[in-house]
Every structure is written in C-alpha cells, then in structure tokens.
C-alpha cells in the first residue's frame, strides 16, 4: 500500500477489434485505476503502440486481425524492450486465459493485480 502512492502512473494498452468490447475493457481499465489507456483495433497497431508507449500492461484479444493476440504476445516477449510488459489475453475460445464473456469486476481485479494497482484506491490515480 505504501509503495502504491509513490508509484508511476500506470499505462495500459488495449487491443480488440470489437468496438463495444474495446470500450468495455477501456472502462474496466479506468475503473481499475490506470492513468493512461491506449486502445487499438489490430495486432500490428498493438505492436507499434506497445513499442512506442511501453505500457505496464497489454490487454489483448486472442482473435484480433493483423496477428492474433497470441502472436502479438510472443512478439512482445521476444523483444527485450517489450518483454517486461504484463499481458492479459482475452479469449472466446476454449483455452482462455480470461474467457469471454468475462465479468467486468473480474477483469478489473485482473488488471489491478497485473499492474500493481491492487493496493491503491479505485479512481485515485486517474
């Protein structure tokens, strides 16, 4: 809790080709307390944005066009510059990390746990 107050603002990248879902995830990210949210609709844009902004967390849809979430994930992991980014994969398939449909509350909890926002009060850092 004490290191939460001095931590740098948390930045999150959201990649999903579905506008509605992207909007929902962005809402959840803000609700979780992230300071900056970048939203993109495909894999290529996700990689570019990740390299440009170096976010703390990337929330990737597993089936985005221009390289699936899994491909983006392994590309990020392979590049030393982006290897440190936490990744949350959203999937509608059977082998999901966070299966759709997900609960917003569950997503918020996941984001907070992955970005180290767990200890902070919701909305404070926005």
């Amino acid at each position: 809790m004490d290191d939460g107050s001095v931590a740098a603002p948390v930045r999150v990248l959201v990649a999903d080709d579905e506008d509605d879902i992207r909007g929902l995830v962005c809402l959840a990210v803000r609700q979780a307390g992230a300071a900056q949210v970048t939203a993109v609709a495909d894999g290529t844009a996700a990689l570019d944005a990740a390299r440009l902004h170096l976010p703390d967390l990337a929330v990737l849809d597993a089936s985005i066009p221009g390289g699936t979430g899994l491909e983006v994930c392994s590309a990020l992991r392979a590049d030393p510059a982006t290897a440190g980014i936490a990744i949350l994969l959203l999937s509608a398939g059977a082998d999901a990390y966070l299966a759709k449909p997900f609960s917003v509350a569950g997503l918020v909890a996941q984001i907070r746990s992955l970005t180290g926002l767990e200890g902070r009060a919701v909305g404070q850092s926005a």
């Binding site: 579905e18 509605d20 929902l24 809402l27 089936s63 449909p101 997900f102 609960s103 917003v104 509350a105």
Partner: protein, 593 residues
Amino acid sequence: MTTAVLGRSAAARGSRRGLIQASPSLVRALPTTALLAATAVLLTVDVLPVADGELVGAGLALGFLATGVARLVDRTSATGEGALVVPVLAQFGAIALISAGSLAPSVLFLLLGPVLSLTLTPRRRGVVVAVLGTAAVLLLPGLLHSDAVVPFDLPLALFLGPLSVGLVTLAGQDAARRSSSQTAELEVLRRERSALEAQVRSRADELDVATRMLAARAQTMTSVIDAVTEQSIIGTDTDGVIRVWNPGAEKMLGLPRADVVRTRSIVEFHDPAELGTAAEEAGTPTGMAALVAAAQENGSDVRDWTYVGSDGRQRTVSVAITPRADDQGAHAGWNFVGTDMTEVRATERMKDQFVSLISHELRTPLSSILGYLELVLDDEEQTLTEEQRAFLGTVERNAHRLQRLVGDLLFTAQVEAGRFTLQPEDVDLAGVVRAAEETARVGAAAGGVLIDLDVPEDGLVVPGDAVRLGQACDNLVSNAVKFTPSGGKVTLALRPAWWLPDGSVVDAEHAGAEPVVQLTVSDTGVGIPAGEQGKLFTRFFRASTAQRNAVPGVGLGLTITKAITTAHGGTLDVHSVEGEGTTFTLTLPTTTS
C-alpha cells in the same frame, strides 16, 4: 477263445471266411466226416473187412450223426464245453463201433480225425478226451467180442495208443496255438497296415480338400481385394517393394498394377517431407523404417499419411498398417489399407473453423451485453429504479441462459470433433454434489420441489475435471427439478461402491472389484416413456413427456453429461417409469485407469 482264434485264422484265408466263422464245430467235424466217408467206401468195396455189419452201420451212422450235431450246435449257436466236446465224443464212439465191427487195425487211423479236431480245443481237456477216446476205441472190440481175436497186443496198445495219441494231441495243440498266434499277429499287422493305408488315403483326401479350399479362399480374397475400389490395399515385402496393388490403389494413386508390382516401393508414394518428420519423431532412418515404425512397435497402426499420386496430387489418407506373415508365420511384409480422407478432413477443418467462428461471433456480443449490463447495474452514482433493476435483471438472466446454451453447443461440437480435453485433479464429489444442490435450491423451492441430500460427510474423491463434473451434476440436478411438478421431491444420494468385472455394482468391497463412487439423482417427476429411454443421450433429443409438459430445454444436457461421464471412465444409467419418476445413476471410478 479257441473259436475266436480259429475265426481269426480262418478270416486270414479269405474266401472261406463266411463258412468257417459261421460253423467252427462243423469245420472241426469235417476231417472225421471225410475219413468216415472214405472208410464207408472202403468197407463197401470190401477193401476193409466187415466182421459185424450192424456195428459198422451203427458206427458210420453215429459218425455222420456227430457231423449233424456239430452243424446243429453251430445253428443254435450253443456255446460252452459241451458244444465243443459232444461231437468229438460221438466221433470216438463211432470209430469204436466201426473198429469193433471191422476188427481191421487200419480202422484205428480214423482216430486221426477227432485227434485233429481236438488239437483245436483247450489243452488239458482235449488231451484227456483224446486219451480216453482212444482207450475206448481200443477196448470196445474186446468188450463186444470176448471171443473174437483182438488183432493186436491189447495191454501194449492200451499203453502206447492213448499215450501216443495224447502226445500227438498235445503237440498238435501246440502247433495249432503257435500257428494261430502267428496268424493272429499277421492279422494284427494286416489290420494295422490297412488302417495306415486308410489313414494315408484320408490324409490325401483331406489335403486335396484343403488345397481346393485354399485355392477357393485365395480366389475369394483376390476377388474381394479387386472389388475394393474406394480403399487402397497395398501389400509390400519387408523392404517396401509393392507386391499387392488393388483397384482402389490404382484409382487413388493413378498407376495400374503392372507398373508398380515388383518394381516400385510404397515409399515413392509418400510425401518425403512428412516421412522425414515421422523419421525424426520415431528416431529411425527415413523411408520404409519411418513408415512402419509405429506398426512395428504396437503391432498395427492407423494414422493419416499424405499419399502423392502419379500426377503429383496429394491426398490425406487414413492408412491402417499391419504386418503380414508367410505360411511359416515369419514376417513377410506389410499391408497398407488406406481410405481417402482428403474431403473428410477438409470438412472437419471447416467444422472446426465454424465452431471457433461461432464461439467468437456469439460470445463477443454476449460479452458486450453482460459487461455493459454489469456496469449499469453496479453503477453506484446513477442508481436505478426497482422496476428498471427488475427489467435489467431479466435481460441479464436471459443473457446468461443464452451464454449457457452457446457453451453447451460449443462443448457438444468439441466432443463430436474429439477435441474435448479434461483438466484432471482430485475432485471431492461430495462437494460437487452439495454445490449442485445449492445452485438448484432456489429454483426448486420456487417450483415447490424439495431437494433431499444424502451425501457422506467424508469427501468421496475421484480423479477428474472439477468444472466438467460440476457441469454433469448440475445438469442431472436441474433436470430432476425441471421435470418434477410442485409438491414432488428430488433425492441426491452419493455412496462408495464396487464395480464387478461383469459391470454390476455392489455395496461391499469385493475381490477383483474396482472401487467407484455412485451418485443417484431420483425424482418424482413425469418420467420418460420406456420406448424413448434408449435415445435419451442423443443430441437434441427431447422426451415426449418433456414436450407435453412444456419443460424448457434443447436436448443437450444429457448428451453432455454422458460425454463427461464417459470421458472420466464412468457410466450413466437411467431407470424411469412414466408418471412415477426417474433415477439417473452416475458411476465414476475412484482410481485412474
């Protein structure tokens, strides 16, 4: 015994077999009869003197009578000593009478007749009869003619005659016995030989039949193989050189039999890259060794291989590879029976793609609906009216229902595609059943249905997928509640049991039985008609009672429950009486098989 020996030696003589076997006494009387006939002739033509015509006549009559008696004995098939001895005794009497009537010493040669037949009788009795008979023959002329001159020295004759006749009888018996035993041995040998001959003949016949059957079978096999036009049947030697190439192979790979048999290897029709990968995996050199590696290890192997036809076209073929043995049982080569799966696999891929498309396309909007609903319902800054909250609750409930349906559809598709996997762990089934009861409790209470729980405190642990087992229990319990009218009862009972090798389940531990956990879900509901119980686990099947009573559902729950049970190595059985209720019994092994 004598008769038997005589019969057997007579049998060896072939043509007379029938007569002799039928008339042993008559045959034995024949030498004497012949001698008597000769004597009668000699007496008639006065070569032999006749001292007393009546005695001679009586003797001859008695002699022929003896022959008649012998024949009679055979006719009546009388047995025993009397039957054998009586004719001989009569013959001795006859000779004695003729001797007394003729008084010629040469008549005594007639004694050879009965003595000859006595050599065929059991030893002691025959000798005694011969000795006594001879003595009687020698004594009778003296007794009947006290005045007549006996033509020989009586005391000496009475000593030497019976003695020599006795010895001759003994020697004759010996010779006859030896000869008959030799004959018997010969007969045994002959029989063995003919038995051997018969055996050889029947073996030859069997061989002939077997050869013809083999030829017919080979013909049948060839015609069957030739009739297969949609499957490739390829036989090779151990090096892969093609020996059998059926029309199915011709059609699949585009080359006639004459172009491949003995000249080409099956390896030439395989994708080299695929064989290379298989070789790497199996740790063998590429080529034939890689192709048959799995079949060599497991005795047979079925998997997809890529065949390359003469036109270069690739086909996905499910190939069953089995070793072939020659008639000595030695490994002679390999059989490759292939079914073209190119289109089937393409369809399967399309189906998989469809399933994943559906999974994405249905779940994504559901995610939006449920996510935004959650945001609205949980928004603390803009509270909803009770009515709005109730309406949105209905929307949420139905969205969840849709979500479950999509999940069920996807799961069934995965089961169908064989892509359904379990996440195995130790699962406390008692906890799973309690959770299922909790989930169903509110709905049951609303419908006036009581749920009775009979679950042991101690957990009953089975290896399995907790989520899937929970789904199976939920399905059974929610079904029971759904199909039970108000005022009814649903009973959940969980108990340990033992599974016998014959499939029956008993309560007590039993040698050779497998420990299991059995869950019974009984209801007092509408029941399932007997005729429909067999179709119960079929996809989208709905019992007529379900439709009549307008119970909601699509007919996937039991299919899924059954698939989950089977995947866990368990069984799901149903017992139901229409109008009385239904009991589902879920049996799961507690040890991993």
